[in-house]
Symmetry: C2
Subunit: 241 residues, 2 copies
């Protein structure tokens, strides 16, 4: 049985305010928690007896609490709790490294599922740094964490005033995904640079577009008005990496 | 004010059983309903006074009911009702045309949001026929309709026993997206064919893979284990169309 104060503490990590105060966040479900344990990133594990037994070796050295299904339901942010919940320390705040790397910069991606999906896509294509505008969803939001499917362990996510940050970059090619740009399939694969991805309804603001040297487009053949930001990012990275 | 029986009827269209019985489905929100009205596909419109006034011309000839915000909340399947709900007749059941066309075939895409997103992506790339296995989500599910963002008006969706259907195809190249196939970026763009897309957890079943002449893969550079089915479909179509 978990004591009430502990349940309340874990529940509070669903809210950004408390995540910021404590410097912690949660991840749930066997797959993600196993990946995070393997990466040595987990602070505490709350799990059903069966899961603890199965993952005994992986849990060595990690504070582990056995919980009942009822308690797990209480602390879970999922519709249906899934065997295990981990509490993690937020990652150290560092600075993005731009030299000889390809980075993504996200302009106001507010849907947590979209942000998580984009982090997972970046990870698939080996892009390990994502710079977010300050109005992008919080990477430690449980919905973002779940949607990354474990990629949060491998991709560094930064929050910046993008105008300031892009303004300071030197000798870096900046790509903007826009409606009227060069066909993505004709662009040479860059060894380094920053790819700006806009949000679905507004795209990339003109003040950010002004930083781009290369304007790129995913050519449309049919009637749909737009592509989801995650899908567009996947297509762009599949052509540029 | 809508009478109770009418409210109950519209609410019932959230369930497949009643959609099948009535042959109807619903779509919501100004953008999708406008697209469907323009395409001449709408049977009845339930909307707030302001929306009816703004869209008077578009509504000519369509049965239109003015509703209060309270009534709209009751009949809506959205978290927050959005000005207008349309009832539509389900599309006529026809047969897919394979000659000189590129089609998608979906194997067990059960998440309604994913199915809707894939239909929208197909529409973007000019693929106007999607053949679904019988265990794929129902295209008339309100969540699918919303996720298509109007593309449901332009893309024909069929439900088939895929083994029977693929078995009958002649002189058609079948592509399967698998983990160990040819790099998608090296495949020649086909003028026609069927692209099989698997579901996220199980991929394409071996019995369906057996029909494929070409096995294709989206090469992975990083650590993510998989891509979302919608994202994968977008990448494949951006390379093959």
């Amino acid at each position: 049985m978990l004591v009430k104060s502990r349940i309340k503490y874990i529940q509070s990590l669903g809210q950004k305010k408390f995540r910021d105060e404590t410097g912690c966040f949660i991840a749930e479900g066997p797959k993600i928690v196993q990946e995070l344990l393997e990466a040595g990133l987990v602070k505490e594990v709350y799990a059903l007896n069966e899961w603890i037994t199965e993952n005994n070796q992986l849990l060595a050295g990690t504070d582990t609490f056995e919980v009942t299904e009822a308690d797990l339901e209480k602390i879970s942010q999922l519709k249906t709790a899934n065997k295990v919940l981990a509490v993690l320390n937020q990652f150290e705040v560092t600075q993005p490294v731009v030299e000889k790397r390809l980075l993504l910069a996200l302009c106001g991606i507010q849907d947590p599922g979209n942000l998580g999906t984009i982090i997972r896509i970046a990870d698939w294509f080996g892009v390990d740094q994502v710079v977010c505008s300050e109005d992008t969803a919080d990477v430690y939001n449980p919905k973002v964490v779940q949607a990354t499917m474990g990629s949060i362990a491998r991709v560094k996510v930064f929050y910046k005033n993008l105008e300031d940050w892009l303004g300071q970059l030197q000798a870096t090619t900046i790509y903007a995904t826009v409606l009227e740009g060069a066909d993505i399939r004709t662009i040479e694969k860059p060894a380094s640079g920053v790819i700006l991805v806009g949000n679905e309804s507004q795209g990339i603001s003109p003040s950010l577009q002004a930083f781009a040297q290369v304007r790129i487009t995913i050519p449309r053949k049919g009637g749909a008005e737009s592509l989801n930001a995650g899908v567009a990012t996947g297509i762009i990275l599949s052509h540029l990496t």
